[in-house]
Every structure is written in structure tokens, then in C-alpha cells.
Subunit: 296 residues, 2 copies
């Protein structure tokens, strides 16, 4: 990557150019209280001015209170207008919470520990971290396996629908906050947090976004938090991946530079290298279009 | 197109094959009471059996009552299990109806006539049917222009989120009902009714789907209805396009066969030919990925 300063300037110019070429009036961003959306928010304000940015905070009952607090304070600090809209009523109406009744557990701590117990049990039975196994049929019946997948995915999809609603009614562009590490291994919800009009950090590994966050003075509270999709209590990024971002990014960057699996296995645990390489291949298929027939 | 019988058999085999190769347990379909979803439902039942199909009817307050009635009776006739889930509470929670307060008008007839008055006025000011002008900035201020666009699009996106929720929680594939005529001119909501896992009629023009509907004995009530997205009262497909499907499909098929604009202008009004050709080009851009930077 360039220096943080050079990369920041390059992205800001890119953001200004997209707005002009699409003839839109501003940017709509979902702010989660996490690192990626904080970096993108900072870049937007510097690129097009706070008056041309609108933020949405879209928590649901499982969202950590701290996430909403950090998102609010960042938007206020940047003087960007924003709205908080709870996704809970939507999800409740669709019966999502009934299908995975975490709400019956009285405390957040209890929810987290029960979820992690299921997660660890599945990881053993599936012989790999659940994140990597979610697209395969489990060898044995795993209670709440499919409900758990559907549970987290619908959250990002109703958020996408809400973000696009506010973008389109204001004739704004929707900015996306997915980074390259997530894109390469499919660590997103298809037709959820992967869709947007403009994706300013989609070419940066997570560890590179972290460098930008320091340069852009993203508050330490946000920078130091364990990265988390904040969709299911207790499941952070690195917990569900079973790999930390430093290792993941070095493997991904190694592949980008043309290193072979054998090269990488000299540097990292062989099973992790295999897992990442297979997942990168699978994700390309995941991005494919729906099955369609050709005309006869 | 093949004969209706041949094409039906080809699609059914395609549907069976997709299920096997994706190792899923069945198909989830949104049934609207319209022609396309009726044809796809019939194909699914013949291909994989009614016990491996689950239907969802997802009306909102603007949906024609007749649509829900026809969707219900078709699903019952085919003995396919189904659920009706109103989208109104989701849309109300997001403030969608407040932004375009059609509900203040007491009767459906009044809503339809007011909407059409706006639509006709816009068509004059934009110098083309509103459908074709929605991606450009209007030359003059048009009240409810952006709200109207956001109003109809969010409906299909919350439907998509709901359909995928039921598909994923049952480990089913989501089947899409978009046809080729719609796909070529972008007559769909991006990240709404254009996304699915399997799209069995995406290679057929609307008029070809109509032929299949006769062969598959789709009830006449459904076959004879004017095609409509059923998103805004009064706005059917052909009203918003300003073209009927017979003409549209002949222009699209002509382009597919390599006819030039000049050839087609001998057969159809020049302005309509131009409109369709420009829209087909624009739609290819619409399908593009978000704006992204390459790595430095």
C-alpha cells in the first residue's frame, strides 16, 4: 500500500469523482461503531464535506450497546447528520427471534457463552471453524445450524434495504465498508453488506485499513475493539474465523504476490493455509450469478 | 424458443440438476399472483414435487387484494405449503408510507388516478415514460420523484431479505421469477427481485413465458391480468414502460437476431426503438459492480 497519506488522498479523489460522474448529491453510510465504517466516514467527510454525508445507525437487540454509543459519538464528533433506526421490529415481525430464542437468556454474558458453546461444538463436529463450514451440509444434524445462518444473514439484508431506501430518497450514493480481506474470503452477507454503489476500502486488507485508521485519528475506543460483525452475541470476526487478521492478511497478500501453498506452509500452519486458499476459491463461485439457462 | 413442451422439460431438468449440484432440500418461491411466478411455481411442482417447494406471499398495503387471492388459490390448487407475511409493518416502521402518504387517499381508485396524474405529468416533463427516466436527474424539481423511486424499490428489497431468510433457514434454494425482457431493460429492482439462486425463466421473453403459461394451464384469471409489479397503485408494467410486451419483445428479439436500429425503425416507431436500444445499453452498466479502486 502507499503511505497512509497518499492512499487517503487517492481514495478521497476517487470518492469526489464517483459523486460527479454519477451526478448524485452526497453519500449515505451505515455506521456500526466498528473500524471499517469509522475509516470510511472520516474519508467521506474529508472528501465531500460533512454536509453531503448522511449516517444511519441500524442496531438490533443483539447489537452491543457500546457499538451504538461509539457510532453516535463519532458521527457527532464529525458533525455529520444521522438517524438511529432499530432493526428489531422488522426482525421480530418476520419471526427471526422466535426461530433462535436467544432473548430467553437473561443476560448478554449468558447469551455469549451459550452461543460460543454451540459454536465450539459445531467447530469440532465440522472439523473446521463454523464460518468456513456454513456452505456445506453438516455431516450430522446440528440444531440451529441453518437457523443460525439465516439469523445473521437477514440482519445485513434488511440493513441494506434500509440504507438503499435513504440513499435513493435523497438521491445519494450508498457507500460500502467491506474491505479486501472480507471480500476475498466471503466474510460478508451476499446481497447484504457486500452491495453498495461505491466501495472505497474494498481494495485494502483489514490491516491496511487499521493503518489508515491511525492516520485518520479514528478514536482509540473504536480502533482497539475486536473487529466484530455484531450479529450474534459472542461471535467476533477472529473468533468465527479461527484466525487473526495479521495471519490472514499475510496469507492473502502472499497469494497476491504469487506465493504457492507450499511457500506459505513454511510460514504458517498448513491447515490454516489450506483453509484460506480453499475459501478464496469458493468465494469466487459464491460471487457468481444465479443459475440460468441459455436460450434454446 | 422450442415448443412449449420441449422448453418445459428442459427447464424442469435444469431445476432438478441445480438442486442436486447445490445439495439443497428444495425451492423457496415468492408468489405474487402474476404470470411469471405462476409459471415458475408450476415448473417447480412438476420438476421436484410439491413437497419440496415452499411458497411465500408477501403483500403490502398497496398490493391489489386480487393478487393475494390469486396467489393463494394457485398455491392451494398445486397443494404447495405456503405462508402469507405482510410487508406493511416493516415498511411502516421504516417510515416509507409517511414519505409518500398515499394512505391518506380513501379509495384505491383515487390512489390510482392521483398516481397516474403525477406519472403523466412527469412523463411530459421528462419527455419519456418515467420508467426510462428514473436514473437521470430530472431537469426540473419533481415532487415525490426520488421518494417514489425509493418507495417502490424498498418493497422488493425487504421481500428479497424475507425470501432468503426462509430459503436459508430451510436449506432451500431461492428461485427467481425475472424474465429476459425485464432483465434486458432493467425492469427489476437491483438487489431486489433480480437476485436469487436459480432463475428458470431468465432466458425467456415475456411473450414466451405467456406461451408456457397456456401449456402449463396457469389459471386464466392470472393469464389475463395486465402484468404489474404491484408496487404502486395504478402502475402496471405496460403503463410504466409506455410499450406493450408484444412490441418490446419483437424489438429485443430483433436485436438478438442482429437487426440494426434502422431495420427496426422500419417496423416500429423510431422513438420507441431508440428508447429500448438505449435502455438495453444502460442496463448493462446498471448490472456493474460497485465503484472500486485497484490496489496502488
Amino acid at each position: 500500500m502507499n503511505t497512509a497519506m497518499e492512499e487517503t488522498q487517492r481514495i478521497e479523489q476517487f470518492l469526489r469523482k464517483a459523486l460527479v460522474s454519477e451526478r448524485k448529491h452526497g453519500y449515505l453510510i451505515g455506521v456500526s461503531g466498528g473500524l471499517d465504517s469509522a475509516v470510511v466516514l472520516k474519508l467521506l467527510v474529508q472528501a465531500v464535506g460533512k454536509e453531503n454525508v448522511l449516517g444511519l445507525i441500524l442496531p438490533d437487540r443483539d447489537t452491543e450497546k457500546k457499538s451504538t454509543t461509539l457510532a453516535r459519538s463519532l458521527l457527532e464528533q464529525e458533525k455529520v447528520p444521522y438517524k438511529v433506526i432499530s432493526m428489531t421490529p422488522l426482525l421480530r415481525h418476520l419471526g427471526v427471534y422466535k426461530d433462535m430464542p436467544l432473548f430467553l437468556l437473561p443476560t448478554r454474558g449468558l447469551k455469549e457463552s451459550i452461543v460460543r458453546r454451540f459454536y465450539n461444538d459445531y467447530t469440532k463436529k465440522l472439523n473446521k471453524p463454523v464460518f468456513f463450514a456454513q456452505w456445506e451440509e453438516p455431516p450430522t444434524q446440528l440444531p440451529y445450524f441453518y437457523e443460525g445462518i439465516a439469523y445473521y444473514r437477514i440482519k445485513h439484508r434488511v440493513r441494506m434495504a434500509t440504507l438503499y431506501y435513504y440513499a435513493e430518497k435523497n438521491d445519494y450514493l450508498l457507500v460500502g465498508c467491506t474491505n479486501l480481506s472480507e471480500r476475498l474470503i466471503g466474510f460478508y452477507v451476499k446481497y447484504g453488506d457486500d452491495v453498495c454503489d461505491v466501495a472505497p476500502i474494498a481494495h485494502l486488507y483489514k490491516t491496511e485499513v487499521r493503518q489508515l485508521s491511525e492516520y485518520l485519528s479514528v478514536p482509540e475506543d473504536i480502533r482497539n475493539r475486536p473487529p466484530s460483525p455484531d450479529l450474534i452475541p459472542g461471535i467476533t470476526d477472529e473468533y468465527s474465523l479461527g484466525i487473526n487478521y495479521e495471519t490472514l492478511d499475510q496469507i492473502l497478500a502472499g497469494l497476491e504476490e504469487g506465493k504457492t501453498a507450499e511457500d506459505l506452509k513454511q510460514l504458517f500452519p498448513a491447515d490454516i493455509v489450506e483453509l484460506v486458499i480453499n475459501q478464496v476459491k469458493f468465494t469466487q463461485k459464491l460471487e457468481g450469478k444465479p443459475y440460468m439457462l441459455k436460450r434454446a
